[in-house]
């Protein structure tokens, strides 16, 4: 699917999935769209429906209740679809991993292609992560 991925990299449409985060990564993701960082310059656009999305931005630890819905969303996304785990939570579970209501790794629910660690990662780090994804897509 090399040729397809290359076309995808011109303008990435992202959908934001909040899987029980602490809200902070979500705010920083929204911050990316506002005038200071303005990622729409690069063709990156936040879309309202998962059916339009090329990339899912997942934040949070995915508790028992939300995990099936996240899986459901991923199944609905048109393939190829890439998943970026934003923040420390999808990568390691942060300080919540001992809780009774946390499934464990988000990776067990949906496959994750790229992690952007940080609690929360700075918007610059998120942009760098997406740029790295674009490099990979371009081959």
């Amino acid at each position: 699917m090399g040729w397809y991925n290359k076309r995808l990299s011109k303008s990435i449409w992202v959908f934001h999935v909040s899987a029980s985060p602490c809200n902070n990564c979500d705010i920083e993701i929204l911050d990316l769209l506002t005038p200071k960082y303005d990622v729409e310059r690069f063709g990156i656009k936040l879309v309202g429906s998962v059916r339009h999305a090329d990339v899912l931005l997942v934040s949070g630890v995915a508790n028992n209740k939300v995990a099936p819905k996240v899986k459901y969303l991923y199944d609905q996304a048109p393939k190829p679809c890439f998943v970026v785990g934003v923040g420390t939570c999808p990568a390691s579970g942060c300080c919540f991993k001992k809780s009774y209501n946390v499934t464990g790794k988000v990776e067990e629910t949906i496959p994750i292609n790229l992690y952007i660690p940080g609690c929360p990662p700075k918007p610059e780090a998120m942009i760098e992560g997406v740029v790295k994804l674009v490099e990979v897509l371009n081959g």
Binding site: H16, V17, S18, A19, S20, P21, C22, N23, N24, C25, D26, I27, E28, L30, D31, T34, P35, K36, V47, G48, S49, V50, V61, N63, K65, V66, K69, L73, C94, C95, F96, K98, S99, Y100, N101, V102, C119, P120, K122
Partner: protein, 395 residues
């Protein structure tokens, strides 16, 4: 009377957090609302009992990314309440400074999101643009944009560097001038007025009945503010006004938040003035916490944050109860959403500045309504057009 159900969520284009509402509607009018929460439930109270007191401060910081000072601040108040621990004067001013800066950034965030919810994206972009300098101030003081990690039992973790104070002043002046502009624009804007005045009214009686807190209750005429009622830190040493409005509609909640931001800028300026002059320690070394129970509270941007901690003399809390302001504000939807059109429902839901991460709740579809066919929809649409035409001609 036909009754249809509109499910909203758990993943919705407008709302960042996963939550689920079921709006029961008759025509365009909302006649009932049901909430399903738990999508964000991470079990903080369970984890907190396995952590030491200092570790639990970092945990409560991660309850919510927007109120990431209010929770640790209420938590240290609760621990200090057990033993009546004194805090150095400089630390008190630093705590107040951080708390008020957080209020500015949270209120600006809400103003922006409110604009986004009513389809007024210009306001969103403006408010969020002017919110960036506040985050820059946080970065100068604590080294991080969010999750500052400043609070400790008996003081604060980091000192404000005296060489950075002139820079903080210049950024604050910038914020103050921009805030004045937003305040005037919000006051005069015909779009905001026509969209928000008289929408989603929460009456004084309902606010008392539901025990609402923060800007939600102050817009309905209840002059409750923890900063005035039970002053902690430096709040009894600085001057500010409590903003109270009467009508309880969404517009009043907007006005309360805008005016509160201006008050916060005043407090931040007073704190910076004092930090220039006061020198001294910033942390009282607390060796151990004696057995007992303590209540800590703080006026977060959304209302009163409440922490209850019971200690048995070890280094871990036996019980740690957290009550976030949205937890008592969200049930007021039952009073404020009934009888308004669907188009106004979302802004009413957003008006209490709900934070589901704090509340740890969510929604789920209850049952499916009658499925209208294409012909039905066409008929309804024609009927409505006729109805509107008659109304316009008749009046």
């Amino acid at each position: 009377m036909s009754k249809n159900i509109i499910p909203v969520g758990p993943f919705h284009p407008l709302l960042e957090e996963a939550e689920y509402f079921t709006l029961k509607v008759d025509g365009e009018k909302v006649i009932g609302i049901d909430l399903d929460i738990g999508w964000m439930h991470r079990g903080h109270e369970f984890i907190s009992e396995t952590k030491t007191f200092t570790q639990s401060l970092y945990l409560v910081e991660r309850i919510c990314g927007i109120c990431s000072t209010s929770h640790p601040l209420a938590c240290v108040h609760a621990i200090e309440d057990i033993d009546n621990i004194d805090i150095p004067l400089r630390a008190r001013y630093i705590r107040t400074l951080i708390g008020e800066l957080e209020r500015i950034h949270s209120h600006l965030l809400w103003i922006g999101l409110a604009g986004h919810f009513i389809g007024y994206d210009t306001l969103w972009m403006w408010a969020w643009k002017y919110r960036e300098p506040v985050l820059q101030m946080f970065e100068i003081i604590s080294g991080n944009r969010n999750h500052y990690g400043m609070m400790r039992v008996g003081g604060v973790a980091k000192d404000v560097d005296s060489s950075s104070i002139p820079k903080l002043y210049s950024i604050l002046d910038d914020i103050a001038s921009k805030m004045d502009m937003i305040a005037k624009a919000a006051n005069d804007d015909p779009v905001l007025r026509s969209r928000l005045v008289g929408v989603g009214v929460l009456s004084h009686e309902d606010a008392v009945r539901f025990c609402a807190v923060g800007p939600t209750s102050r817009a309905s005429g209840i002059p409750a503010d923890v900063r005035k009622d039970d002053p902690s830190d430096a709040y009894d040493l600085v001057e500010f006004n409590t903003i109270v409005m009467k009508n309880g509609d969404v517009y009043d909640k907007l006005v309360v938040r805008v005016l509160e931001t201006l008050e916060s800028i005043k407090i931040v300026r007073q704190c910076l003035d004092m930090l220039k002059n006061i020198n001294g320690p910033i942390l009282n070394d607390v060796k151990e916490i004696s057995p007992g129970e303590g209540i800590g509270r703080y006026e977060a941007p959304r209302g009163e944050v409440f922490h209850y901690i019971r200690s048995d003399g070890t280094n871990r809390p036996v019980r740690h109860k957290v009550r976030a302001p949205s937890y008592v504000n969200i049930p007021t939807f039952e009073a404020s959403c009934i009888g308004i059109p669907i188009a106004d429902a979302l802004i009413t839901l957003a008006a209490v500045d709900p934070c589901y991460c704090c509340t740890e709740r969510s929604i789920k579809v209850v049952d499916s309504a009658r499925q209208p066919t294409k012909i039905d929809l066409l008929k309804i649409s024609r009927e409505k057009t006729e109805y509107l035409r008659r109304q316009i001609n008749g009046n």
